[in-house]
């Protein structure tokens, strides 16, 4: 035995032990670290690191299983089985399952059952059977235990499900629900939205209408405690199937709607809205008067439902024939104008928003409308908000055209309470001096007003809306 070798090895070991600082952290902290890993596989991998790490993974309260990268279904199933079986009995706080290959739904019921028995708080499920028959896809039925789980507060469902909520005792603690429905095959998802008594946060996303036999979905959202609602719906109008959204949410504060193209959406009872964002994309293929008419009806109903908003972002085409309600509480308006309906909309909104304080305009081109000459015809009476309340105006996509200058002039001359106007102009023509000259020739209604002219370097395009 070579003593030098032994002592050398031992001191190396000592040195190593000293340098290993992470293992000195208490179990709870190590577990906490592992709980931030995106995949459970990474957490379980740490069990082969060293003696200290052998069983830390077993207490991690969040489990994320996804078989997208794992084409071997059998090993995936076995992995989930084993993780669930071998972790200790600490609660499972978060359970995410994305499965597209597991054919044995009974096994999935077992997994969900285990999570529920372990007091799961956040559940996210996406169960599809791609290996099955395309004509008759097997659809996973949500087990009743999910509906009656007392600890469940956050639920996410993507893919088609069959849902049969019980008549009572449903979702007793559910505060947040996110449903993504792409190409629905049945109508049972409709039942989900009126059985959540304490729901505060709801997101409905989906796409619809590509198949001839897609069911028409009528979303009836009835949630007494709902505060935030996001609807993100795109449909293909080829088969003219229009889904409807009817919302009864008396405590709703934030409402975000993105539809392509617009469908019926009506808020029945929301008088405490704070922030509303509406983006209605243009139905490109249909320029008929009939389409306009349909749009007008839908637009009117929708806007009537959001009339209590305090802050509104509106980007919509073809609102020409809509009747606008009065926006009594509106203090901030961000308006994306398209050349299918330009200044009339601005006029109407200004007329109907007596308490408007901030106005943001963005001027865009679009293909849907007539490119008429867009004259600015001033309203008969100056809108009351312009006379006193309106303090800041900001305009993007300014090109210095005649009608745009007319509008700017009108706003400046009549804006007696105006403090600041900011114009972002498209800098193609180096118009800065010209603009400065013209603006300084206007009569400004407010002596304290500041006007700023900026070259807008970014491309003026359709309102970039970003996923919400």
């Amino acid at each position: 035995m070579d003593f030098n070798l032994v002592t050398g090895l031992m001191s190396e070991l000592e040195a190593k032990r000293v340098k290993d600082r992470i293992s000195a952290l208490p179990d709870a902290v190590l577990c906490h670290i592992l709980s931030f890993l995106d995949r459970t596989e990474d957490a379980v991998t740490t069990s082969v690191l060293s003696k200290r790490w052998k069983k830390i993974w077993a207490s991690v309260p969040s489990l994320v299983f996804c078989d997208e990268d794992n084409p071997d279904c059998v090993s995936f199933v076995r992995f989930v089985d084993n993780v669930l079986f071998f972790r200790n009995s600490t609660d499972i706080r978060k359970f995410h399952l994305q499965s597209c290959c597991v054919k044995d739904f009974a096994r999935i019921y077992g997994w969900i059952g285990t999570a529920i028995r372990r007091n799961v708080v956040e559940l996210d499920l996406s169960v599809e059977d791609f290996a099955g028959d395309d004509d008759h896809p097997r659809v996973f039925e949500l087990p009743e235990s999910v509906f009656t789980c007392k600890t469940l507060m956050v639920l996410g469902l993507s893919s088609n499900f069959i849902t049969n909520p019980p008549t009572s005792g449903c979702f007793p603690s559910l505060k947040s629900l996110n449903v993504q429905i792409d190409h629905p095959v049945n109508k049972s998802v409709e039942k989900l939205f009126s059985c959540c008594p304490v729901l505060e946060n709801l997101r409905i996303g989906g796409s619809h209408g590509m198949q001839r036999d897609d069911p028409i979905l009528n979303f009836n959202v009835s949630a007494p405690e709902l505060k935030t609602l996001r609807i993100y719906w795109s449909s293909c109008d080829v088969y003219e199937k229009c889904c409807k959204f009817h919302i009864n949410a008396p405590k709703l504060e934030n409402f975000h709607l993105w539809q392509d193209p617009p469908t019926d959406c009506f808020l029945e009872n929301s008088k405490t809205l704070v922030k509303v964002t509406i983006t209605l994309c243009d139905p490109l293929h249909d320029n008929s008067a009939e389409a306009d008419h349909r749009f007008a009806i839908r637009g009117t109903a929708l806007l009537a439902g959001i009339s209590s908003a305090r802050s509104l972002y509106l980007s919509a085409h073809r609102l020409k024939k809509c009747c606008l309600p009065t926006f009594d509480k509106l203090s901030r308006l961000e308006l994306i104008l398209y050349n299918c309906y330009y200044w009339e909309l601005l006029k109407e909104l200004l007329k109907r928003s007596p308490n408007l304080e901030r106005l943001v305009l963005e001027l865009n081109e679009c293909k849907c409308g007539e490119s008429s000459d867009h004259q600015w015809i001033p309203p008969r009476f100056v809108p009351s908000c312009l006379l006193s309340q309106l303090k800041t105006i900001s305009v993007r996509g300014f090109k210095g055209k005649v009608d745009e200058m007319d509008v700017a002039k009108y706003l400046l001359e009549n804006g007696e309470g105006l403090k600041k106007m900011t114009i972002y102009y498209n800098d193609h023509l180096c118009m800065k001096e010209e603009l400065h000259k013209q603006f300084s020739m206007f009569q400004w209604g407010s002596v304290t007003c500041q006007v700023e002219l900026f070259a807008d370097i970014r491309e003026a395009n359709c309102a970039s809306f970003g996923m919400f």
Binding site: L13, K16, R17, K19, D20, R21, I22, S23, A24, L25, P26, V29, H32, I33, L34, S35, F36, L37, D38, E41, D42, V44, T45, T46, S47, V48, L49, S50, K51, R52, W53, K54, K55, A58, N70, D72, C73, V74, S75, F76, V77, R78, F79, D81, N82, L84, F85, F86, N88, S89, K103, D104, A106, R107, Y109, G110, W111, G113, T114, R117
Partner: protein, 345 residues
């Protein structure tokens, strides 16, 4: 006299807290910054310490002066109420850029001071470091000792938490095995078959409980090289893996379908029968016996799937049938010691 008057007037109105680290050094910190730490805050409020140098608050041992400085920087920034979320996030992202050694120290110190937001921040950073790395890479990054034996690495899911279900399963399998042995003896079957039979049950046990005292002659994974086909579970039509994986499995998922664990799909989550390695058993064992065995195992698996109290009921009734003494259940439902009734060896 004028000196006495002057001594009363202090140049600054701020109040300071005195903190002492384990190495004895003392420093003073603005009160609002120190109060951001829950542990310090509690000390001040409950014991009144920290107001002067002689009564400095002793910080936990894991907080050394260098890391205390970092923590106080963090507190100093975040305790200002007017900051926007974006500002805080930007600060955090810059703050967290440090080597792993310091990151670990910071985590440790923040944890001992119960400063949860900082613990979360550092934990996330450490998780990002761990993510996506192989175990070797992780060991290298954190200087972890590679002190697991090869056997331990390949059986990482040894259930050390002593789940009563596992013990129950072990006991029942031991009993099953014993019964089988006895029946075989009566039939005068040769000794080899016993071993074969024993091994198949042992395989299960090995997998479940990584070779506890019950299973004699547990062969480790390396010895099992023979290709074994697994029986299709009756309900599941999915293909079974006929693998001969010999790769040094670092990733755990591959350890799961390592072929040296033939009966590894211990699906106690549903009613699927526990897959038996009957490549060998088929030849030697009476089919009726095998069927009965399968049934009993399946029955047991199904029972395990139901809730614990119900399970205990069933076990109790089972125990009565076979003349077992009752099993004690403590408060949280976990069974305590099994009596000798099940412990027949």
């Amino acid at each position: 006299m004028s000196e006495a008057v002057m001594a009363v007037v202090k140049p600054e109105m701020k109040s300071y807290i005195w903190l002492q680290t384990a190495d004895g050094s003392i420093q003073q910190v603005e009160e609002e910054v120190a109060m951001f730490c829950p542990m310090i805050c509690r000390e001040i409020l409950q014991t009144g310490m920290g107001s002067s140098k002689n009564y400095a608050i002793s910080l936990p041992q894991r907080v050394n002066p260098a890391v205390l400085g970092l923590i106080l920087d963090y507190c100093r920034f975040h305790q200002v109420p007017g900051r926007s979320n974006k500002e805080r996030k930007t600060f955090d992202e810059k703050f967290i850029r440090m080597d792993t050694k310091k990151l670990c120290e910071l985590t440790s110190a923040a944890d001992s001071l119960q400063l949860k937001p900082l613990v979360d921040l550092t934990s996330r950073a450490l998780a990002r470091i761990i993510e996506g790395k192989t175990p070797e890479e992780i060991r290298e990054t954190f200087h972890l000792p590679d002190d697991l034996t090869e056997e331990e690495k390949l059986e990482p899911l040894r259930n050390i938490t002593d789940d009563p279900r596992i013990r129950l399963l072990n006991r029942l399998y031991a009993r099953k095995r014993k019964e089988l042995k006895e029946r075989e003896k009566l039939k005068n079957v040769e000794a080899e078959e016993e071993r074969v039979d024993q091994r198949s049950v042992d395989d299960l046990l090995t997998f479940i409980n990584g070779g506890n005292g019950d299973s004699k002659g547990v062969k480790t994974n390396k010895n099992k090289k023979k290709n074994r086909r697994r029986k299709d579970p009756p309900k599941d039509s999915s293909n079974n893996v006929n693998g001969n994986h010999n790769k040094e499995s670092e990733a755990l998922s591959s350890a799961f379908h390592n072929e040296s664990r033939p009966s590894s799909s211990c699906n106690l989550q549903d009613c699927t029968a526990i897959e038996f390695d009957d490549g060998d058993v088929d030849d030697d064992l009476d089919p009726a016996m095998k069927e009965q065995l399968d049934r009993e195992v399946e029955d047991f698996a199904r029972r395990l799937n139901s809730d614990w109290p119900e399970r205990m009921q069933e076990i109790l009734s089972l125990g009565q049938e076979r003349r077992l003494a009752p099993i004690n259940i403590n408060g949280n439902g976990s069974a305590r010691r099994y009596t000798t009734g099940l412990d027949q060896r």
